[in-house]
């Protein structure tokens, strides 16, 4: 079986005037198409660095990454990145914002435009396309950010604490929303989070990282017996949820 993402012995050191900071010791993982992967770890363990490496924004010190058979960096369009906040440009309309990636890639073909209009329509934003971000609610902004990412039709979505800027209620609703979109579009997702409950509610597989310099401490296949279709909300009701939560909590070994 071939994997869509193969991470092979990645290591990363940051250079700073005060010395060398080892961020990632050795991480390898294989991810299949359509999987939802969560990476949890203590804060500052290099989770976000790992995503930046997968996205090709940062060169690793050693190791390599194969995405769909090609090297990362050469295939940025295969990877869509969702940052901690939506970062919609306040000076542009929603339509201009969601077209940003296509605009930068100079790929504003009628066909791609049509695809974005369809996404806006599907996810209930078409009547807001001429509004400015400040006129939208937090959830709608997050959806617009998602469409901006999807516009380039990435195979893989990277979510870097993508919901951490939202308040708790909005966060639950947006999680539900984004999970639905990812599954409907049949994308592979790699999400970094420090929220254990959120990771169990969404992930097919969870990797727990050690503190810096990080490596993989453990890997869990999340198998939940949901009554209905699995959604983040239903997952939280599943009897196994608590079990996974306790397991991962212990592994993170948090000391205050």
């Amino acid at each position: 079986m071939s994997y869509i993402v193969e991470i092979k012995n990645i290591g990363m050191n940051y250079q700073s005037p005060n010395g060398e900071i080892p961020a990632i010791a050795d991480i390898s993982m294989n991810i299949s198409k359509g999987e939802f992967i969560c990476i949890v770890g203590p804060s500052g363990c290099g989770k976000s660095t790992l995503l930046s490496i997968i996205a090709g924004l940062v060169k690793p010190s050693c190791g390599n990454i194969v995405i769909n058979g090609g090297r990362s960096g050469e295939c940025l369009q295969q990877v869509g990145y969702m940052l901690q906040k939506d970062f919609l440009f306040e000076w542009s309309t929603i339509l201009e914002n969601v077209m940003l990636g296509l605009d930068i890639k100079k790929a504003l073909t009628p066909e791609n435009r049509e695809y974005v209009y369809k996404l806006l329509d599907t996810y209930g934003l078409s009547e807001f396309k001429d509004k400015y971000p400040s006129q939208l609610s937090g959830g709608m902004r997050q959806r617009a950010a998602m469409i901006r990412t999807l516009a380039l039709r990435p195979e893989i979505l990277l979510l870097d604490e993508a919901f951490s800027a939202l308040d708790y209620q909005t966060r639950l609703a947006v999680t539900e929303d984004i999970y639905y979109i990812i599954k409907k579009e049949n994308k592979t997702a790699i999400m970094v989070t420090h929220d254990i409950a959120e990771s169990i509610s969404m992930a097919d597989r969870i990797f727990v990282l050690t503190g810096r310099p990080s490596s993989i401490r453990s890997e869990h296949n999340i198998l939940l017996s949901c009554n209905d279709v699995r959604t983040p909300f239903n997952s939280r009701e599943a009897p196994e949820f608590r079990h996974y939560f306790n397991l991962i909590w212990k592994e993170l070994d948090v000391h205050v």
């Binding site: 996205a55 924004l57 940025l76 369009q77 990877v79 869509g80 990145y81 940052l83 901690q84 906040k85 970062f87 440009f89 306040e90 000076w91 542009s92 940003l100 990636g101 605009d103 930068i104 890639k105 400015y132 400040s134 006129q135 939208l136 609610s137 380039l152």
Partner: protein, 272 residues
């Protein structure tokens, strides 16, 4: 979503609120006008009663006469026109050139590190000290005056705009980089639009600086313009001319500032 609801049926509380707001606005305006009227009235009265020496303080009625005479001689708009022209060219050039240089310095970190101490020194140097040099180099005329105005505003503009560029949200830059943006695209898509308010703001600051440069320039060159009228009036003890010029200057500067504020509203209306 956050639009105000159409206010059709207003509660009495709301009406009371709106009324008191309006009342406040009117009373502020009235007080402002009263201050102005009282100021000029007491000036005129004190001068007429010979309590102050109008040879030294001038007086409003004589100022008005002076302005009318200047107008009759065809001098008034000649001098106002020249001064305003020099000022506008000064602050527009200061902002545009300052922004362009800031772009270059943002682009090349090396260059900005190299030039940093020079910019700091130029910023603390009183640029007016360079006035005589400019007059020797560019002749006693409009060119020198504009260059003095430019010299005063350009360094501040560079520092201000460059600071804005540098302070652009790193995460927003990361966002466009995830789409594979080049450095040029990072600039045009994020850094420039995010800093448009900073640039307009420096334009506003430069209006004031440019006036200083132009008036000082006209003092030095002494050929025409409101600065020339002031310095000439002072030398021949025609305080009427000095005061008239100062008042015209006040009005012109006020109008120009409002024009820039208006421009700001037009350019940044998208910012909501």
């Amino acid at each position: 979503m956050f639009k105000h609801k159409q206010e059709t049926n207003l509660s009495s509380e709301r009406l009371e609120y709106l009324k008191s707001k309006k009342r406040r606005k009117v009373s502020v305006l009235v007080t402002q006008i009263v201050i102005l009227v009282v100021f000029f009235a007491q000036w005129e009265i004190l001068a007429r009663l010979n309590i102050v020496d109008s040879f030294i303080t001038s007086q409003p009625s004589r100022i008005v006469n002076t302005i009318i005479n200047l107008y009759r001689e065809g001098q008034l708009f000649h001098h106002i026109g020249i001064t305003c022209w020099e000022t506008v060219v000064g602050f527009v050039a200061g902002t545009v050139l300052g922004t362009l240089i800031a772009v270059v310095l943002w682009w090349s970190e090396f260059l900005s590190k190299v030039l940093e101490p020079y910019l700091v020194i130029l910023n603390s140097l009183p640029k007016i000290a360079l006035g005589p040099i400019f007059i020797v180099w560019f002749g006693a005329g409009t060119t020198s005056i504009i260059i003095i105005a430019l010299a005063i505003s350009i360094v501040v503009s560079i520092l201000e705009v460059l600071n804005g560029f540098m302070a652009t949200d790193e995460e927003q830059i990361k966002l466009v980089k995830t789409f594979g943006a080049s450095r040029f695209q990072v600039f045009t898509k994020v850094v420039f639009p995010a800093n448009l308010p900073v640039i307009i703001n420096s334009l506003k600051v430069n209006v004031g600086l440019s006036w200083v440069g132009v008036i000082v320039g006209e003092f030095l060159v002494s050929k025409s313009g409101l600065g020339y009228l002031i310095v000439y009036g002072g030398q021949v003890f025609k305080l009427d001319l000095v005061m008239a010029s100062v008042i015209i200057l006040c009005i012109a500067a006020g109008i120009m500032y409002q024009a820039v504020v208006l421009l700001q509203k037009v350019l940044i209306k998208k910012h909501i």
